[in-house]
């Protein structure tokens, strides 16, 4: 199939882009790498009147460490992160996630801001960045606001973006030297979206853990204080203390009534726990 006819604009600066989005009153779609929007346009799952191509906006390509955190512009590609063209404050966690997103052709074009905006439950960044405790800044003509990733992703393909608003940057806090990272996913085949994602950042020194169960039918389950998954206490023996039943209970609470599906999610999370402990 082919997309419906639409107008196309490629603004030169962020303010022009924001003006176009404001004027379109919600009938516009933003395109950056086009790795999700392209197929969706062709399948006519989206039928915008206007496509605003932001790939020319230099402001959104910046990547820098600012005040101890990494600030990645929305147009930074997965391959930029995979290849280390951007700085890393996560001690390899983000490059590791980036390197396993879909396949290389997608990573060359796909952007971190696009992936977040699209909010596909099965995509990697919404889960990985929630586990890392990242925040996102959104900009419109009215100004800027900032929120945690887990607040930004509202549901399947649903984000907190208002009409006229754009993801400007992702702010990733530095990973403590005492913090362990684990990330696992299961895909039917190479390059396919995951059907289960487990991510965790465990810092026994701080007795803190963030755990994410992703690729469920809706927004990922983000547990910012995950002591309940480790028998009530985060310590160096977190691998032994991992409580599969507590994880299963979270999935039941999220409305997943299929036991096999829950078992796959818990097993993938367990893989991530083992990776973090290794």
């Amino acid at each position: 199939m082919k997309p419906v006819p639409f107008s196309y604009e490629r603004p030169r600066d962020l303010n022009s882009a924001l003006s176009m989005l404001a004027a379109s009153r919600g009938s516009a779609k933003i395109i950056a790498g086009g790795q999700s929007l392209g197929p969706m346009l062709n399948l006519r799952l989206v039928q915008p009147e206007l496509v605003v191509d932001i790939s020319g906006l230099a402001e959104l390509k910046r990547a820098e460490i600012r005040g101890g955190e990494l600030v990645l512009g929305a147009l930074v590609t997965h391959a930029d992160i995979e290849d280390g063209r951007t700085a890393d404050v996560t001690r390899g966690a983000m490059p590791g996630v980036a390197a396993n997103i879909a396949y290389r052709a997608v990573r060359n074009r796909g952007t971190i801001g696009g992936s977040l905006s699209h909010a596909d439950p099965a995509a990697d960044w919404i889960s990985a960045l929630a586990a890392l405790g990242a925040r996102v800044t959104l900009r419109s003509l009215a100004g800027v606001r900032s929120m945690a990733i887990e607040a930004f992703v509202v549901g399947a393909l649903e984000s907190a973006l208002d009409a006229g608003e754009i993801v400007e940057a992702v702010h990733v806090p530095a990973r403590a030297t005492s913090a362990h990272w684990g990330y696992a996913k299961s895909c039917r085949k190479t390059g396919e979206f995951a059907h289960a994602i487990g991510a965790l950042l465990v810092d026994p020194a701080a007795a803190a853990a963030r755990v994410v169960i992703g690729a469920i039918d809706t927004a990922p389950i983000v547990v910012t204080d995950a002591a309940e998954l480790f028998g009530g206490r985060i310590a160096a023996d977190f691998k032994q203390r991992f409580d599969a039943r507590a994880a299963d209970a979270l999935l039941v609470k999220a409305g997943i009534d299929d036991a096999a599906q829950r078992h796959i999610h818990v097993s993938v999370l367990k893989r991530a726990v083992f990776e973090a402990a290794a």
Partner: protein
């Protein structure tokens, strides 16, 4: 001038094949990985061995799709649920192993040069070979899968069912 070819006996020729698969199955996540795959095919006299090999490899890829990926489900009102290649999974290059291939050449007594048809053989055996290998791997758990494609969900559901029935029997 147009010329045709009709063999002395036109009831068809039959090639023979044996497929053997070695797989790894993760019973917790349901992933299946093909570790080794061997095909021996008897296609009679091979007129163009390169084309024969290509046909068998292609058939294997298609058969792996049947075994592990391809499915056309419908919902209760008859609506097809796999209408694009995003939903209808096909094996890609990374899902098809470098199979080992060997040939026997038993000439057909009924055809010119002793050739036999080998066009479809490659695609027919893989679902059986792979399912048998998966079932062999899961045998200690008391699991037998009888439906293709063998998806992670079907594997895990069968493993959980076996565990539950094992507990109730005990």
């Amino acid at each position: 001038m147009t010329q045709g070819y009709k063999p002395v006996r036109d009831s068809g020729t039959f090639s023979y094949a044996a497929h053997a698969a070695v797989v790894a199955v993760d019973p917790e996540v349901g992933e299946v990985e093909i570790l080794d795959y061997v095909i021996v095919e008897d296609g009679g006299v091979l007129v163009n061995p390169m084309v024969v090999d290509g046909q068998i490899y292609g058939g294997l890829a298609q058969g792996i799709g049947t075994a592990l990926y391809e499915e056309m489900p419908f919902d209760n009102s008859g609506q097809p649920l796999a209408t694009t290649l995003a939903d209808y999974l096909l094996p890609g290059a990374t899902e098809v192993p470098a199979a080992r291939l060997d040939h026997m050449e038993t000439p057909s007594p009924y055809t010119q040069f002793g050739v036999k048809g080998i066009g479809e053989g490659g695609a027919i055996a893989p679902p059986a070979a792979i399912a048998n290998a998966v079932n062999d791997a899961l045998r200690p758990l008391g699991v037998e899968l009888m439906q293709s494609p063998i998806t992670p969900h079907r594997v895990v559901a069968a493993v959980l069912a076996a565990r539950t029935s094992g507990r109730s029997a005990a």
